[in-house]
Subunit: 410 residues, 2 copies
């Protein structure tokens, strides 16, 4: 019997008790051991919960009980989660977390502290919920040279974009509906402005480089400006619009292009078919040559299941040994300046004179592919690859007319 504590008894924390109960037999088969939730730390009491008698309000009760071997941190936020986690690690307890904000900001210190104390700091649930992409990247691709990651890393925005695609609906209307259904928060900024995806792509990049980038170095673009006209154009082009967190890794020079933005994804890429609240993460390396994981990126049971999978790994004698990582805070020049990265773009311009606009565009971009079926008063085209800063310069001051939309291609 291994005793654990849960700190933060919200949606995910509560789910952990449920997963342990549901999978009791499977856990026993996998580890030869049973898990007992000895303490639950929360500010609140839960008098109606079957776990009411385990609730404590003082972290030191957990810290000072040598029977507790693993602490599951599902509080969210950097503080006090960071302090509690560090104290637990110093006390020789392993820590498992679903807290992406904490891992994306302080993962370096937490992992180092775990190593120093011969215990594990694990965070499968911190990116991609029920999708075990962290373990996959650490183990199956741990000895591989992963050069590209593209992820639909946020279920809320993917639900909104799917609805927009299928129903031709406006962003604002779909957001309202998503909020009603509980798929989007009252304040949806962290989702729709890409902050959530930004933290996750920073974590995934660190897994394959050991370099934890500062979140504020990652170019991040909101998806709130995507319109039904963009969706329609993407369909005519042969794809759809997805909010992607992307990473292009240059192992030779120790650099990475990391960014989060709405992206045209071709239907030939499996990421284009990841719909509704599902997440999908595409990984590429010269050896595996295109691999994708697909599943529920959030939600009570999948996320709690990911936390429990880390607990099971520790009980199996594996834990952080899966692939010991030595993260460092990345140097300032690890993340390539966004202006230097080259993209092909979809462009829609209002114009009275299509021919004239296209002529100007060809002068700037060289070969362009004109999209058929444009709305009246508009011309649409796809550019060749060009550096972001050069594209910005080309459109500056309305040189090419009134740009209604400009979206990067995958």
């Amino acid at each position: 019997m291994t005793h654990i504590a849960i700190i933060g008894f919200g949606v995910v924390g509560g789910g952990i008790t449920e997963v342990i109960r549901l999978n009791k037999k499977a856990i026993l088969r996998a580890t030869g051991d049973e898990i007992n939730v000895k303490y639950i730390l929360d500010l609140r009491d839960f008098p109606d919960s079957p776990y009411a008698d385990r609730v404590v309000h003082d972290f030191s009760v957990i810290l000072n009980d040598p029977e507790v071997k693993i602490v599951c941190e599902t509080m969210g936020g950097v503080n006090p989660a960071f302090d509690y986690s560090m104290q637990a690690l110093r006390a020789g307890k392993s820590v498992v977390t679903s807290n992406k904000e904490l891992v994306a900001n302080r993962g370096v210190e937490l992992m180092a502290e775990a190593k120093k104390n011969g215990v594990s700091y694990m965070f499968e649930a911190s990116a991609g919920g029920g999708i075990p992409e962290i373990r996959s990247l650490r183990t199956s691709f741990g000895g591989d040279t992963v050069s590209e990651i593209d992820g639909i890393l946020n279920g809320t925005t993917n639900y909104i974009l799917t609805k927009m695609k299928n129903e031709g609906a406006d962003f604002a209307d779909v957001l309202k509906e998503a909020q009603k259904l509980g798929y989007a928060e009252a304040n949806p900024a962290a989702d729709v402005d890409g902050i959530d995806a930004q933290r996750k792509i920073v974590i995934l990049t660190a897994i394959v480089t050991n370099q934890l980038a500062s979140c504020d170095k990652v170019y991040t673009e909101t998806m709130t400006k995507i319109t039904p006209a963009d969706m329609d154009a993407a369909a005519r082009w042969g794809g759809t619009v997805k909010l992607l967190g992307s990473s292009r890794i240059d192992h030779e020079n120790g650099k990475a292009a990391i960014y989060v933005c709405p992206t045209f994804v071709p239907n030939s890429c499996p990421i284009a078919h990841v719909d509704d609240v599902y997440n999908g993460i595409r990984v590429n390396s010269p050896v595996t040559n295109d691999y994708m994981l697909y599943g529920r990126g959030a939600g009570r049971m999948p996320t709690a299941g990911a936390v429990v999978s880390d607990v099971v790994s520790i009980l199996s004698g594996v834990g952080a040994k899966e692939l010991a990582m030595d993260w460092e805070h990345a140097e300032d020049d690890f993340v390539l300046p966004f202006g230097d990265i080259s993209f092909a773009y979809y462009v829609r311009i209002s114009t009275d004179s299509v021919d004239e606009t296209l002529e100007k565009a060809r002068l700037v971009f060289g070969e362009i592919e004109v999209l058929a079926g444009s709305p009246a008063g508009c011309v649409e085209f796809i550019t060749a690859k060009i550096a972001e800063k050069d594209a910005n310069a080309a459109f500056e001051g309305g040189a090419l007319g009134e740009v209604q939309s400009r979206i990067r291609l995958m």
Copy 2:
């Protein structure tokens, strides 16, 4: 420096040396160690290979060299691969394999021998090539109660079905083209008749149940009878035809329905969008609630990469500890009789009198869903779920007319 031996220097065996060379830095980062290929066992010599000096023809050279810690078996076939693997394990060497035929038949004995000698027997490359679904099922879902597996487990047949879908082509024509391109063997029976997929679904089922079923208990249906008319019907229904290996697991009673057959897959399921030579494996449990892995199920580099991922796991001190498994040969009644399993079916019947045929069909199947747009002289419908043996009885002796096609729904 860890010394390994490769036995069988064919496509995959050769790929292993290449992956080790390509990923030298990544392997060092992941394990703190380097891998040296000390011996290569093959009947042939390879005078032009940079590894010519490592080639040996006598397995005892490898067996008796205590420096060799890991043997990579990429010979294929049950014998002599089984004998060599058992001898290596008894000599205290770990064995890593890509040999699905061997694992599907003798995995029980090999795993037990590894355990007895405190070493690892690992086989990530034996199912799904570059897709790490064995490690995912063992680790991330090791403490979970996986109840459903559906896999496109064979790239050759998926390439053929994709071509048939996109081009309205006949099976025979596409097969010829696939043979010309090297995607299908001169004798394609193991692929197109489902034998390859059968071995893989037996292995995947064993991962989550510890029960290794006899391959001959698994109902396996050829995909050579799928026609352009079937593909067309699937498209009108809202999906496509895929060759699936499927498993439905009843953990409570220790039983499983395991079968390989052409299946109507709805477009809403991500498996429907796994095209060309790619494989996809969908896993379901009450906790993860729909998860899919997608990637290259075969090929030199992805398969060799999977072998190397097992070597890396062993070097990382994890190896078979990932989740120690105790496989047994399944009792005869572990696999449910196929006749007892219920499916909904797509049915196409030649008829001069549509109304009469539908009336008869309704008497047998109750509610049916008639498919619009049928070819002239035919009626098509989807049945409710009915046991396979009852469906067989209903069609016996032409009671419902001349059945052109009957395909199970996912």
